[in-house]
């Protein structure tokens, strides 16, 4: 922390009380922002095991999207910073990759344990920086982060048994660029398999959510991780582009928008750098007339309103069988009216803040297009806090396949509802986007689940459930949702020279 300047007071929870859902009243149940620990007023990069100042003078600010309060300044990484970080990673690579797998494993186990120990701190910090509800960071993100390190720790000394030949080698220095929707979880998805396979990394967190990655750097120090094995360079897309273009990185891993993924793929053409991409999605969540309605409604809500809909695999297109459309929509609206939008640090909050003003503007623009193109918009009545970035959970009915809201990723709490009559029609509509990340099927009929799962062009298919993740389970897309898989044995391949 030497280079991180003086700490500031914990950020007060100033968000207005969550509006009443109509069914139940809840007293506020605020988590303490102080649990996030000290947030420095300004951060540099984490390079070669130390916090260092940027070579440039440009600084960015990260704000609490629920209050618009500035949380900290952080460095806009320059090409020189990136170069320094890559050099540190290159220097560390020899020793790290030659370390017996069993020893590398112990470092990863240590990290997993420290993440568990500091879980509350990290959950609160994540919630403050990202705007997502504390119950999600506490019950989903952080357990998943620890699980990811725990799972890949166990692979480190078993790589010769993983099916990639008798002596699989690491790729080298991995450049990793991650998004803001699951800042710490995406970090874990990237760093855990990279380290387990003997690579060293330079990671760039998103410019709206750098704080937990910088806190993770402290965890690397507590774990005694050799200097330079993990380097974190902050900044916006310019820093990311400098990192992915750096001639001395051997592998690029990117999670983010399809357009940026496309430009990275173009940038790397002919370079022989290994590339894995996790990009956008427009998942169909398909509900048949024999589905258990209440469970399906829960699945739909979880599918699109989890993490404010800031989920690449979100079930953003509801395909409902025509015969139950009215009944289902009524149940869905009834359920949506109970969603509590507001203070992310309130333990009762279901939907937190939209991550940034820019993201809110994008959601607003796309939903306006939905109305302009003739779809019918509905949101439950709910008060929103006056400060911060908020968007009511919203559904569009009367959506056709040609509408922008049926084709483009909205990345917000917005559901487009389409209907179908036959299973064949459901498959055709579900597959009718350039994306292919995920899909959902709700029906009691087992044979139909398997028939549908076989035909859906999607890397993950959730049947009678949605948005489930596990480190043992490969995740990734078909078509323009990117290539490569994260998680499971398959996730090792991205970081091995095979």
């Amino acid at each position: 922390m030497a280079k991180n300047k003086k700490t500031q007071e914990p950020v007060a929870a100033t968000v207005a009380a969550t509006p009443k859902g109509g069914l139940f009243d809840y007293a506020p149940a605020p988590e303490s922002p102080a649990a996030a620990g000290d947030i420095a007023t300004s951060y540099g990069h984490f390079i070669g095991g130390d916090f260092v100042d940027s070579s440039g003078s440009e600084a960015l600010k990260t704000v609490n999207p629920a209050t618009e309060q500035v949380l900290a300044e952080f460095a806009q990484g320059t090409e020189e910073d990136v170069d320094r970080a890559v050099k540190a990673a290159r220097k560390a690579f020899g020793g790290w990759s030659e370390l017996p797998g069993s020893e590398r494993a112990k470092y990863l186990y240590r990290i997993a344990r420290i993440v568990q120990e500091r879980s509350r701190e990290l959950a609160v910090l994540e919630s403050i920086d990202n705007g997502k509800p504390i119950k999600e960071t506490r019950d989903f993100d952080l357990p998943m982060v620890a699980a990811w390190f725990f799972y890949y720790a166990g692979w480190a000394d078993k790589l010769d048994c993983a099916g990639f030949g008798p002596n699989p080698r690491p790729v080298g220095v991995a450049a990793q660029v991650i998004p803001w929707n699951f800042p710490l979880m995406m970090l874990a998805w990237k760093i855990a398999p990279a380290l387990a396979t003997g690579n060293t990394v330079v990671l760039k967190p998103a410019e709206t959510t750098p704080l937990t990655a910088l806190r993770f750097a402290e965890i690397c120090r507590q774990a005694g991780l050799p200097k330079g094995v993990v380097n974190i360079v902050t900044g916006d897309g310019r820093t990311g582009a400098a990192l992915t273009a750096h001639p001395d990185v051997n592998k690029v891993a990117f999670t983010g928008s399809t357009n940026v993924g496309r430009s990275i793929a173009r940038q790397l053409a002919g370079s022989r750098k290994k590339l894995s991409l996790e990009l956008g999605g427009k998942a169909a969540n398909i509900v048949f007339d024999d589905a258990p309605i209440d469970q399906a409604v829960e699945g739909i809500v979880n599918g699109i309103f989890f993490n404010q809909g800031h989920v690449c695999c979100a079930g953003s297109r509801l395909l409902v069988q025509e015969s139950i459309q009215d009944e289902l929509l009524e149940a869905l609206k009834r359920r949506m009216a109970t969603l509590r939008v507001g203070d992310p640090l309130d333990k009762n909050t279901d939907i937190g803040a939209i991550n940034s003003a820019a993201q809110l503007a994008r959601i607003t623009e796309l939903t306006a297009a939905g109305e302009a193109e003739g779809a019918e918009r509905w949101s439950p009545a709910c008060e929103l806090p006056s400060a911060g970035y908020w968007f009511r959970p919203t559904i569009f009915t009367g959506v056709t396949q040609a509408h922008r809201i049926a084709q483009e990723e909205i990345f917000g709490p917005v559901l487009s509802v389409l209907s179908f009559r036959t299973p064949d029609e459901a498959v055709a509509k579900a597959n009718n986007t350039p994306f292919g990340l995920s899909a959902g099927i709700w029906t009691e009929k087992g044979s139909r689940i398997l028939w549908m799962a076989d035909r859906l062009k999607a890397g993950v298919v959730w049947a009678n459930t949605f948005n489930k993740f596990d480190p043992t389970s490969p995740f990734g897309g078909y078509k323009e949702s990117g290539y490569g898989r994260e998680g499971g044995r398959h996730g090792l391949e991205a970081y091995l020279d095979v």
Binding site: A269, G270, T472, G482
Partner: protein, 300 residues
Amino acid sequence: MSDIATRLDVFKTYKLFVGGKFPRSESGRVYEVTDSKGQWLANAPLGTRKDTRDAVLAARAAVKGWAGTTAYNRGQVLYRVAEMLQGRREQFAAEVAAAEGLGAKKAAALVDQAIDRWVWYAGWTDKVAQIAGAANPVAGPYFNLSVPEPTGVVGIVAPQAGYGHSFLGLVSVIAPAIATGNTVVVAAAADAPLPALSLGEVLATSDVPGGVVNIISGRTADLAPTLASHQDVNALDLTGAIAADGPGAAAVLEAAAADTLKRVLRPAVDPSAQDWTSAPGTGRLLSFLETKTVWHPMGQ
């Protein structure tokens, strides 16, 4: 009188192989194919961008049936290709010898290896899911399986001629892609397309459904960019894209493929040194697979 033969050989008009049929190129043009000494062998159709797009249409139409057939059935179809090739071994040995400037014995050995390669991949169709799939022990009450699936339509720039690449190399890139349920559009080795066009005749009589394999001859610089940029091609095998620059160069094609986020199999660092006679391993087989993970709750 002495130079007039008593019986003329019947020459073959070489044609493209698209959708199970043998069309002439829509260009109405051919180009001269010569042997290694520059002697004329035949005229090959000069395939065009339009021919390539037609082939992609045929390949797309064939995906559903081919991917949907059982792995057991696909294995038998691939084995059937080996059977048919075995019966035409001498023809292919002669074509490879002419195309590559090899002795008869060496050419025959390469054809034998190509036959064996079909047999090797025939055996993989019903096993690849068992090495590439997984039952995932997730921390929760879910039944969770990962299964490999074909990517779809694969565009292949076949290895260029030299040391048997025009046939053993060709078979080595086609067989793994279709073994896993993909369909392919192949730009044959530009200077030695005759073994590839003859392979079409074998495939047509081998129970391979029309459209599963489509073979186009012509200039790589005309055909490959169409495959790389085509919206309905899902993956690109650049094995034969070796030119250092120009529209057929690997880097240019890879950049074009980025627009549709195609899966790209890059060429070897030194494609001319690639040894097709060595054991192929599973690399190519796994290159054109997607992994689909299916979750279902477990409960009473």
